[in-house]
Symmetry: C2
Subunit: 262 residues, 2 copies
Amino acid sequence: MTQKLSLPGSEILERPRFAAGATEDLLLGARRLRQAFAQSQTRFAGRDVPLIRAGESDPTVILIRSGFAFRSCLLADGRRAILDILVAGDVCGIDHVVLVRPIEDITAAGRIGYQALSATAMRELMADPAIALHALALLAEARWRGDRLAASIGRLDAHARICVLLLDLHDRLRRRGLIAQPIYSLPLTQEQLADHLGLTLVHVNRTLRRLREERIVLLDRQVVIIQDLERLRAAAQGLPQPAELPEAALAAERARSADGRN
Amino acid sequence: MTQKLSLPGSEILERPRFAAGATEDLLLGARRLRQAFAQSQTRFAGRDVPLIRAGESDPTVILIRSGFAFRSCLLADGRRAILDILVAGDVCGIDHVVLVRPIEDITAAGRIGYQALSATAMRELMADPAIALHALALLAEARWRGDRLAASIGRLDAHARICVLLLDLHDRLRRRGLIAQPIYSLPLTQEQLADHLGLTLVHVNRTLRRLREERIVLLDRQVVIIQDLERLRAAAQGLPQPAELPEAALAAERARSADGRN
DNA sequence: CGGCGGATTGAAGGGAATCAATGCTTGTGG
DNA sequence: CCACAAGCATTGATTCCCTTCAATCCGCCG
């Protein structure tokens, strides 16, 4: 059924770029949205502080300035599924523009700085086509990450899943210019990693040990040290290429950093 | 860490509704988008016909009029992950407005009728704030389904996963008025179900047998017969409530069906 | 009839979960 | 300054869900 597919994996090397007809507006929208966020005060929150709770009224849209956060939902049995990890520069909660109440929780993973915009304000901003397009792009990117996670959990083993996660985070941070070396802090407990990867704490631990023994990555005290990027990439093979903010957004990102970043 | 959470599961009984401030526009946007689609000719495709291929240029946005389709991506080892199942009334490919090239494949699961809009045309439509908002809502809903899938694969066992799938599909079809009884056709092979649920063909088969023996659901020859909706719901417990098109879209949907549906 | 895709079923093995201790840090308070 | 508790990390032993491998069967079509 599935074709022979002898593609050596180097097929879709490009990450999804924005459509030509939209790039201009996207850039513009990105800038304007950042400006809107810049109006609001930067706030801070510590570990495990909920930024948005599922079901609460009057949700906000959030721009993370620094640190990590995650989106999660509670399961009936009390377990938790962490659906997305958010890093500095990410905007989350755009769907609150159209939903009365948020569906999931958004929680600070460690100490973070962020700015918030009320859903109403965001809704008004959406009147600007450029911003509307940018919002769509943000959501599209988030969905892509979600799809990727589903594929990862569904078809890769624990070893590969963790590699994908650590590599993707590395690439995201790298692309945003937030790190210069293959080292970054990741303020998630092993239990939280497990909740994200569809594993158990114990198995995450064992797998991390294996990765350490293989001298591929070292995750100690919430610090990730990638010892062998090549082999990490090899081990993370299997999924389609990581889709991330393409150059348009990247440019915007750079612009943002270049401006005073508060 | 996780609170005691003695919520009996009946907490978030409501599905995500659209925000009050947006409902009007959403309805309007939905109607206008349908109208735009109505301009284009209804096309048909048979089983396994790709509607959109990852990487191809000039992608379209698609409204499914009848039948089932699915979104999938290929993994490096040749396996496939089916990330979403699309039913009549679904719009897919909205993200093509912002992406140059689609990231995933969209394939007809059986014989389907659909209408297509070029990404360029859709991009122009987005100038209408109502349509832009509706597009955002569509994407938000798709993401929610993706998140749900990830949680399902990550935290539920095969039995529950299949129940969730069959129940969710039932509810979606029911809510759109496409079925009146707990019976529907599902033109997916067991291998495709496996690719969707992160299982193997063999195990899907065994689990379906068990469900049959338990007299909960019967899946035979691509026809799903829910024998005991109550117990199916019970078995599908565990995830947060299914998020689907809320009444706004529902109304639009009804309006659509009420008009000639081509 | 033969071939083929899909469904079904058995047997065996493995990856991950579960159960259960034991370290290790860190922060708190005496 | 040390004791102590709490949360997190680590590790072993055991269990089991799911995969893998391998046939067989069935319905369909040329």
